[in-house]
Symmetry: C3
Subunit: 139 residues, 3 copies
Amino acid sequence: MKQHRETLEIRTGGPGLLDITDKVADVVRAAAIRDGLLTLFIRHTSASLLIQENADPDVLHDLEQFMRRTVSRDTKLYRHTTEGPDDMPAHIRSALTQASLSIPVQGARMALGTWQAIYVWEHRDRGQTREVVAHVIGD
Amino acid sequence: MKQHRETLEIRTGGPGLLDITDKVADVVRAAAIRDGLLTLFIRHTSASLLIQENADPDVLHDLEQFMRRTVSRDTKLYRHTTEGPDDMPAHIRSALTQASLSIPVQGARMALGTWQAIYVWEHRDRGQTREVVAHVIGD
Amino acid sequence: MKQHRETLEIRTGGPGLLDITDKVADVVRAAAIRDGLLTLFIRHTSASLLIQENADPDVLHDLEQFMRRTVSRDTKLYRHTTEGPDDMPAHIRSALTQASLSIPVQGARMALGTWQAIYVWEHRDRGQTREVVAHVIGD
């Protein structure tokens, strides 16, 4: 049994979903672990991780729009407003999605379904550098 | 330290929550791992995994109804409509729940609470065959 | 490769987020595992786990208020009402957040970001004793 850990630096470009599947697949390859478990962890509370459809970019657009409709930016609703009108909504959107994901590894590849990709979801208005820790354990 | 991986095929019957706890418990037993970690991963983006109450079926009904109220099926709200009025809502509902779950294993059993069960939540209108990968690592 | 498992008993004080980061850090230290993976699992369906901001308590207040606005307590909306008007909303709020979290361990510490803390989110009106299972695997 062995393990491998790497921290990816992801540069986001403002609100929306950024596909990091290829970068994560590179980590799994570098780990040289045939069978095991991959864990991803994002070190932030205003961006999150999500597994979603990889085929139609409209899905990503509609997900972002759903969050905008559902999580109000009206600062009158919030006490935490000093970091801007997008900050508290970003925390809520992160709470509704995931900080960590676990994906089995088989044959040195992630066991993703045909239509699945891994995304960093940026919830702030401005692009940021986001750190995602990837950990693989197995044989 | 050893590991075990198995893919469950779950036939759903349309929108709602399907209890897969017994099937997963069988995998944990087959793994013959006394202490460790179970990870479940669903290979789809329009169905998800959830840990929820196992006692009153009304809870499952109310969860489904909450999602119907909260995630609109009005196609005017979405760009991604070619796969039917239920598809984009299914992606959103999946994003709001989980693609992966991690449960410690103790004494060759999952460390579930008394009232917890594991569900596949089908978000599409039609039943589907859904693949759930179960991975166990431990001693 | 070794592993360690411990069950934390967390006494909550009614609705809201309770910081358990220090308690979890103690478990990681006790595990004496330098590099590996920590998994947290809550054995309940009306309380959940969340990684969120540790700096401004207003963020925690605003998260709780968001859930109160979003998940109605109107019992006319629910069938499952016998356990009180807060119970079905508590199940929904749990479904929208997490029952399990995975955090890589590096240098015998959790790989949390600077602004991240780990919370138990109590969704019932009355404080409860909540069990959180912590599992660490690694070297």
